[in-house]
Point group: C2
Chain length 299, copies 2
């Protein structure tokens, strides 16, 4: 089955202590879509401006991503610029130009509305709602978010959390949302808001699932060097949803393994700027790391 993915489609200019990379293909939907494309056909929903480089359209197409839901609007593509510190954990935003995103309303082509798997990647919760409103009867919906929406769109976000099957956020966002320092206590509170599946991302420490079948402690793939972590969380949910949408059996039977695939997708993302490394990965490379993660956690 295919995965519908909505989120930001952007140009990222990323500075690290060692390099500067202007106008890379970025945005939550781009990272999630490429990661999901290793496992399943992807239908992309987003908006770019007339300045959006053709080579990035070619790249999406190389990954067989359906662009029927990608609007090309007069104006500029959403542009984000950020700088990482030496430790690659702390980053600060240098610039945010919303461009065509400012007036974006996602319109789903008819062929998209019946998608069984829906990933509402990080984007304004109002737009995530708008996509859900157009879906006929999705089988499994997951939303990701970021601290910005907790700060400026909490009401929309809380309504969204009620509507989805799975909710994904990082540990500091979970703390901000629930006022709980303990991640397990935080997950319990988030379940009470609605979702059956709660996933907390912890960067290089991996992620944790809380589900009807209990917890799953998902490791991060060991990386000796992180080049650029931008989009790692998006790659994680994208890889997870891509794998889930093609796995035989129910969600509970597959979600743990799906997270492992997401973790591996995120590891490739971190090894290059933007999507440079991820787009060079193959399914065989992915399977190799999944196998390694199995051995790395066995006792």
């Amino acid at each position: 089955m295919s995965v519908l993915i909505v989120g930001s489609t952007a140009l990222d200019s990323i500075k690290t202590p060692n390099a500067e990379n202007p106008r890379l293909l970025g945005g939550s939907a781009s990272h999630a879509a490429v990661a999901a494309s290793f496992f399943a056909p992807v239908k992309l929903v987003g908006v770019v401006g007339e300045d959006f480089p053709k080579k990035y359209i070619t790249l999406y197409k190389k990954h067989r991503i359906d662009l029927g839901g990608l609007q090309i609007q007069p104006g500029k593509t959403f542009h984000w610029s950020g700088e990482y510190e030496v430790n690659m954990n702390n980053r600060r935003t240098l610039l945010t130009e919303l461009g065509v995103f400012e007036k974006f309303t996602p319109h789903l082509p008819n062929a998209y509305k019946q998608s069984a798997f829906v990933l509402l990647a990080n984007i304004a919760p109002a737009l995530q709602h708008h996509v859900l409103d157009q879906m006929t009867k999705p089988k499994f919906t997951v939303a990701d978010t970021m601290d910005l929406w907790l700060n400026i769109a909490m009401d929309d976000l809380q309504r969204l959390i009620k509507r989805v099957d799975g909710f994904v956020l990082n540990d500091s966002e979970a703390h901000q949302l629930t006022k709980e320092d303990n991640v397990f206590a935080a997950m319990r509170k988030i379940h009470k808001m609605g979702p059956k599946y709660v996933i907390i991302k912890k960067g290089s420490h991996g992620s944790i699932l809380s589900s009807p079948k209990g917890f799953f402690i998902c490791p991060a793939y060991p990386l000796h060097k992180v080049v650029d972590p931008t989009g790692a969380g998006d790659s994680f949910v994208g890889g997870m949803m891509g794998y889930l949408s093609t796995a035989k059996g129910g969600i509970d039977a597959n979600i743990r393994r799906a997270m492992i695939y997401g973790s591996v997708a995120a590891s490739f993302c971190c090894e290059g700027f933007g999507l440079n490394r991820t787009t060079k990965a193959t399914r065989a490379h992915i399977e190799q790391r999944v196998k390694e993660l199995g051995l790395l956690t066995k006792f």
Copy 2:
């Protein structure tokens, strides 16, 4: 086989936002010894003052800990007082009274010198050296440390790292020691200093082993509430060494499972003040959590 454990034997006064607990049994050797005692006979090396409560001697004995190496000296027992913030991660030291520790020289009874497994729990590296100097031919030696010794006894510590089979430290200490932000890169540097086995503790994020047989990602047992994390790292290494000393087969065949046992010992430690919860645990409780950790990481 028995485990020889040297470290601090102290009285801990611990404040948290909800409670104040004066003069609990504490110190790295106390936590490590009790954790190890669930698996193996323990020989304790340490010093206490004449004020050391009899009930704590009784407690050691209840755990069948050999006290032949515990000196009782005129003067006061080492007393540490600290305060935790609401999130239980940040703590500050309110008071450190070294007492009899100031002039402590560990003397090993003859029966101790042949111990095959030696845990140099957190204590001044000079004292850890002094214990190693007295050992006949230990099979497996592990040292733990803390940031204090990195700050004030780096030379002693670096000489110690060369002498041991395994070295254990937390992630911020690994960064301080190697100047590496990436834990895997840090572990590689520490191997070059000598030890075949390097373990980095990451608190609630678990721990990582780097060994001749590769990496092992060891989860922390999920706790919904942490009452007092003091001694969790000591319980971890104690449980690990206790299990290792009785496991059949070589170190490589058992160290992963040993870390899981250590992780479980640390989880009990966190659930009560001082050793209150750990001393109520049974081997059956431990086995139950080990089984759970197996299920929590399976995919």
